[in-house]
Symmetry: C2
Subunit: 203 residues, 2 copies
């Protein structure tokens, strides 16, 4: 098994944090996305969409999409459960994973990709107005999340889950996207301190 | 249990098709999105993000996000499996569900929301350039999917899954978004004929 990894990019990191929380170690194949190596043969023959990460199993099976790769590891090693337990628990984690991804992660990514000069070759065409429109969307969701985190330890409930991983990565991604967590979002700040202090956050 | 439903909108339909494939019947509470009823108390007290569908269980538990609601029903009634079976099978369905959603469904939705005059109050600000930029993204993904569907019955493999539901709904959504399936995408056309002929497609 080997994981084609993309270094600092958010989606590859999502899988590395997940693996760290599971206590799993998978051989990494580093791919230099800054040098556009993800558009070369090694990646594009495995994932024609030319995106990372890509997991290759020993029998040659290819899995792409960070959350799908995480789901694979959840199935082969259920403990600790990071996608929830029971019908309601699993649905609640999926609900929060999607809420955070659709309303925060995607908004931050759009702001970064459509506004950052380094993204000119990546996002064609760059549409700065769309990048700007996403900044208040991200902040608005953080205000909603702040109310939810009042009295709740983690995003989907009392346990750390993949929704927290997506949230952590989205907030770290806000720095290059030049969006700030509002200072009065004290519950988000407390939660962010907690999740970014876990050893997995350095993955 | 009751499902707050949004009529013709794509995400509510995604859950209705899923339930039809499971042979499940859930009492629906119709919400007229055209009249902005999803912004009124009945929905916004249950989902402050004011989006549909919303599932309310008998004990008052609220689940939102179409795919999370589908996941709940998959857990309570596993047959027929629409999220895959086994670690690789589940991961492969999730991979395809995400590929179709991120590259097709979201692109079609962006074209519709940023270009259609009826969406002016919904998507603020409407950015026509972003809507236009998404049309070729949707077509590009359909060409990739066409190659994948050469010799494969359904999007994620030999069985109908939630990835097919997302694909069906995305393609039906292309009509109001004014995007066409390229006529030479014969495998996509064949697959679309098959999935849209199933009784569930009328849900």
């Amino acid at each position: 098994m080997k994981l084609f990894d993309g270094g600092r990019a958010p989606n590859p990191r999502r899988v590395r944090v997940f693996l760290a929380e599971k206590g799993l170690s998978v051989p990494l194949v580093p791919v230099d996305m800054g040098a556009m190596e993800h558009r070369r043969e090694a990646v594009s023959s495995r994932n024609p969409l030319q995106r990372l990460p890509v997991l290759e199993l020993d029998d040659g099976t290819i899995l792409t999409e960070s959350v799908a790769i995480c789901r694979y590891f959840e199935e082969v090693q259920p403990e600790p459960p990071l996608f929830g337990t029971g019908a309601v628990g699993k649905a609640r984690v999926e609900m929060w994973q999607r809420r955070v991804e659709l309303n925060l992660f995607n908004a931050v990514a759009a702001a970064f990709r459509h506004l950052h000069p380094a993204m000119k070759e990546w996002e064609v065409p760059q549409i700065p107005a769309w990048g700007e429109a996403n900044k208040p969307k991200a902040v608005e969701f953080l205000r909603f999340l702040d109310g939810e985190l009042d009295g709740r330890e983690f995003i989907a409930g009392g346990s750390y889950t993949i929704a927290d991983i997506t949230g952590l990565i989205a907030i770290d991604f806000m720095k290059p996207a030049r969006i700030q967590v509002p200072p009065d979002c004290t519950h988000v700040q407390r939660w962010y301190q907690a999740v970014s202090s876990r050893p997995s956050a350095t993955a």
